[in-house]
């Protein structure tokens, strides 16, 4: 069947229009359908977010107890104190309302993150320079500690001692900073 508009391309789309009870059927190709405005694509048409919110709703902790839960939720629905987004709203839109939501919904987030990020729930990347504060030092200590363990296992005690001293030094740094903040 050829397209009713251009009479060139094959009609691949069939529209049924009902206006005041009058039914008309139109056969169009994709190009003409778009041009004539029969097809509108929302800009965000790719429904990644619908897909995501689908994923969020599948909360493995609640399988089988869903009915009970929904009755329960009406009593105490989780809601962010700052932006007022509720947990069910978050699941519907698939987006957080503010930074505080991460804390408010925190106990429910691990399964979601695991699903979206291949099993991961904890950040291992960049720590912001200014905002990160002591975190840089803490991460450094952690990595020294694992290095220390390895050295002990390999019986490289001299090297281990140096690493131990480095750890002590960094720990002192943090303590001094905290004392400084308090005074």
């Amino acid at each position: 069947m050829e397209c009713q508009e251009c009479h060139k391309r094959p009609a691949t789309l069939h529209f049924t229009q009902v206006i005041n009870g009058n039914k008309t059927e139109i056969q169009l190709c994709e190009v003409c359908a778009k041009e004539k405005g029969y097809m509108t694509y929302p800009e965000d048409g790719y429904s990644l977010h619908n897909l995501l919110s689908g994923l969020f709703n599948f909360d493995s902790n609640h399988i089988g107890t869903q009915k009970k839960d929904s009755q329960f939720q009406q009593v105490k629905e989780l809601q962010c104190a700052r932006c007022e987004m509720t947990f069910s709203e978050f699941k519907r839109v698939g987006k957080f309302g503010c930074a505080e939501c991460y804390h408010t919904f925190s106990s429910h987030l691990d399964p979601i993150f695991r699903r979206v990020h291949s099993g991961n729930t904890k950040h291992r990347g960049k720590i912001p320079k200014r905002k990160g504060g002591d975190l840089h030092i803490k991460k450094q200590i952690e990595s020294y500690k694992s290095e220390l363990q390895e050295l002990i296992v390999n019986e490289e005690f001299e090297k281990a001692a140096t690493v131990r001293d480095k750890i002590r030094e960094l720990e002192m740094d943090i303590r001094n900073k905290q004392d400084g903040d308090q005074s």
Partner: protein, 354 residues
């Protein structure tokens, strides 16, 4: 407006430089999503808060320079016409979503157009940085430096366990999306790319068309990017991406050689026919134009076509997009008017080379 002047507008200055592996990799991009700690995300924030962010960033950063990225121009999206917005989207300087949020959204663009900081998109801040060819590590290092520079003034939403907090859970952690734009005509012709995609997906990477989420691969241009942002360091994510891209490059080169050996005449025929279509068409649809451009670019890479510059693919791909055509015509055009203008522009562009 002369065609040459217009083309200068279509191609960002950084695109003119040739990066490593630029016969196959058009560009590398790093995007970092960041938010203000104390203001709700754009999806829920009130206009007043978003306006405050826009004004604050304009005050702090407008016309500043950072290293090679000079004189950040602050563009308020609401001041643009719909064609101007479309042009920025087609140049990949802003996202379709930013163009849509036109009330309070803005973008700060460096004068070489290598850096674009989008404001009030899905997140408050999205730093975007491009490099020509395959240069992910360099792009990441520069993006981090820009990030530190912005952080001097902005109180970021960051959490010790979750990392950078973003509006969408798919960006949390590093907030980083690294992507590489590749021209893979031989893998597409031999349909090998379809077989490779599932394997690529399994590594936590995605393959898409060049205009981002949901867009089709037009003209054999593919964008490969990371999907996972949590639980891996930025460096690890980039290493994974880099190694996949390098394998794709090798496969593409091998497929090209094999095509030349096994069906050289057919390949040559296809390339010259495409060149003919571009040179002589009077009406050309964007898909056909993209396909012909891809073939011609392949012909240039293989040394079959000698008198054309490589940049022609990048240039004409952007130039023949609907927004650019209308920008050139200075008015709104119907699809069929665009097809005519597209053919004219391509013909004139090719004549410039002669």
């Amino acid at each position: 407006m002369t065609l040459e002047h217009f083309m200068n507008e279509a191609i960002s200055p950084w695109m003119r430089e040739n990066g490593p592996d630029s016969d196959i990799v058009l560009s590398s991009r790093i995007r970092l999503a960041r938010n203000f700690a104390d203001i709700p995300f754009p999806i829920i924030a009130n206009q007043h808060d978003l306006e405050k962010i826009r004004e604050f960033l304009q005050q702090e950063f407008e016309h500043l320079s950072f290293q090679d990225y000079k004189n950040f121009e602050f563009i308020s999206i609401r001041d643009l016409s719909s064609i101007e917005k479309r042009v920025l989207v087609e140049k990949h300087l802003i996202s379709p979503l930013l163009a849509q949020n036109d009330g309070t959204s803005a973008s700060m663009i460096s004068n070489n157009e290598q850096v674009s900081v989008m404001i009030n998109e899905e997140d408050h801040i999205r730093i975007q940085l491009y490099f020509p060819g395959l240069q992910l590590t360099k792009a990441l290092n520069k993006a981090f430096e820009l990030d530190d520079w912005l952080e001097e003034k902005v109180n970021y939403a960051f959490d010790e366990t979750r990392g950078f907090l973003t509006s969408c859970p798919t960006n949390v952690g590093t907030g980083m999306r690294a992507s590489v734009m590749m021209h893979l005509p031989a893998l597409a012709m031999t349909k090998q790319i379809n077989r490779m995609m599932p394997a690529i997906n399994q590594l936590g990477l995605v393959v898409r068309g060049i205009y981002g989420e949901g867009s089709e691969a037009v003209g054999n241009l593919f964008q490969i990017s990371n999907q996972i942002t949590l639980g891996k360091t930025e460096e690890d994510i980039i290493e994974d991406l880099q190694s996949v891209v390098q394998q794709l490059i090798e496969h593409e080169r091998r497929a090209r050689t094999r095509l030349m050996e096994q069906s050289g005449t057919e390949l040559e025929d296809r390339i010259y026919r495409s060149l003919g279509s571009l040179k002589y068409s009077r009406i050309i649809e964007s898909k056909e134009a993209a396909m012909c451009l891809s073939n011609v670019r392949l012909g240039i890479d293989l040394g079959i076509i000698k008198d054309l510059s490589r940049n022609i693919l990048n240039e004409l791909t952007v130039l023949t997009q609907p927004g650019f055509l209308q920008h050139y015509a200075k008015k709104t055009l119907t699809a069929s008017e665009r097809d005519v203008l597209r053919a004219t522009l391509i013909r004139e562009r090719l004549q410039l080379e002669e």
